[in-house]
Symmetry: C3
Subunit: 213 residues, 3 copies
Amino acid sequence: MDVTWSLILDLLGTFFFAVSGSLLAARRGFDIVGSLLLGSLTGLGGGVMRDLVLGVTPTAFAQPIYLIPPLAAAVLVFFFVRPVERFPRLLLVFDAAGLALFCTTGAVKALELGMNPVAAALLGVMTGVGGGLLRDVVANRDPQLFNPRDLYAVPAMLGAASITALWVAGWYGPLAEVLIAALVFAFRVLSLRFKWHIPSAALDRSFGDRADG
Amino acid sequence: MDVTWSLILDLLGTFFFAVSGSLLAARRGFDIVGSLLLGSLTGLGGGVMRDLVLGVTPTAFAQPIYLIPPLAAAVLVFFFVRPVERFPRLLLVFDAAGLALFCTTGAVKALELGMNPVAAALLGVMTGVGGGLLRDVVANRDPQLFNPRDLYAVPAMLGAASITALWVAGWYGPLAEVLIAALVFAFRVLSLRFKWHIPSAALDRSFGDRADG
Amino acid sequence: MDVTWSLILDLLGTFFFAVSGSLLAARRGFDIVGSLLLGSLTGLGGGVMRDLVLGVTPTAFAQPIYLIPPLAAAVLVFFFVRPVERFPRLLLVFDAAGLALFCTTGAVKALELGMNPVAAALLGVMTGVGGGLLRDVVANRDPQLFNPRDLYAVPAMLGAASITALWVAGWYGPLAEVLIAALVFAFRVLSLRFKWHIPSAALDRSFGDRADG
């Protein structure tokens, strides 16, 4: 994959996640700077965690161009929050695109830097779900990642595992990466559309009703 | 301490902490993937933070075998959540074993990598309490670490300081490490059994009754 | 700036932030160890995040003297929580001094280590606001950083940007750093005194009234 093409996809993913952060800031009544900060954390957080584990300077700091998507997201939400809200599914589509992209590019970056395949797949998942987790933790709400009515992590896990398997098999290439990202995206959107879900953490379903200990 | 023996102890500690994360996930009604993620964060989080500070690749990523304990914990909680819950003290015993192990192995790893003794003791404490702190923060609840009716951090501090002192004195060895871990474990269990506690953050006890500012 | 002078300022900033953490611990009814831990996280957290991004050993671990301010803060709050509380503005003044100092020293450290100017300014902001954010997240409350009635991040952004601009222009020096820190401090105190605020995250002000989605 050409560096420029890869960078554009990464910046797009950053933008989509940043919109979700800035929109949450608007819903919470934060000011415009809070919107910029929460959007930055959401869009850049997953990649920063990945790069810290990889032991390289986080791209968000090494390449200042990464700050443009959060700025654009904060401006977009500031002026156009009503239209954006009118299409809540549009936002979920954006979020799904960011997730699909980050789980594959995160795994590929780890593989390029020589991580073992298991860790690379894990880092792909972390890149995909990390920013949204930071967003929800910092905004003091229950993370979307743990919502039992939403398969959020599963598409990211499948995508990161698939791209890693292709890499190990020697079949990795730009086309494969785009294809897998598209499949992850489609899976995520379909899971939302048809309300797919997976088993609860406990086989005994009555358990979850108990008070939190 | 033989590498294999040390690794087994570390994996056991990871497993015990992961059970506490997966069990919290079950109590909250998360799905099975959420259980795996929260268990992984709890079991691996402390070690990852320690390794990031030490500037080495986190063991959870460098050695894929570290992913087996969280997987086992999620499966265990999925099938056997009722029996596990029937012995809540058993779980606290597991947690105490993880704490005792991590606070000593964390400090030893820091000392082996040349950190100064004060930082090594601090990293031992961070390794011991870090995973549980991440678990509670991500699950959006008040951290057990700050529970004033529970001496959670104190045994970890004593253990990390003791093993560091032995290292500085030149008396460190596998036997000493196991002995100190056992003492930390015993202290933690006794503190739970006899409800030991320490002074409040403010000498003026009426202060804590005020509203949060 | 002389190393000793710089270190003293940094330790003072650590102390002021640590007081805010220990005081929150006292308000929440944490015990004395919880007070020490929350104070340490608040005072040292911003610098640790900065140093992890910079790829150097965090100063809090490299130099054990950094543990003295959180210890002093926990002791101070333990014995003198009532007098400290009697002057809530005094605490905000301390916090403002910490913020002013950390946003400039954080940016300067990043520039000294060769980061690009944009990243250096960003790291200055992260150093200034990071500890307080960790404090609030760990204590499970809405972060002060996102309080729309408080310009918390704005003075830090201006200070970090200013010192970075001076560095790029070749006008950086100890006097410039102290001057900018003083201006940031004054701006922060004035913004509190006169309740300055900035626009909301959404132009459509009625939006924030909606329920959190």
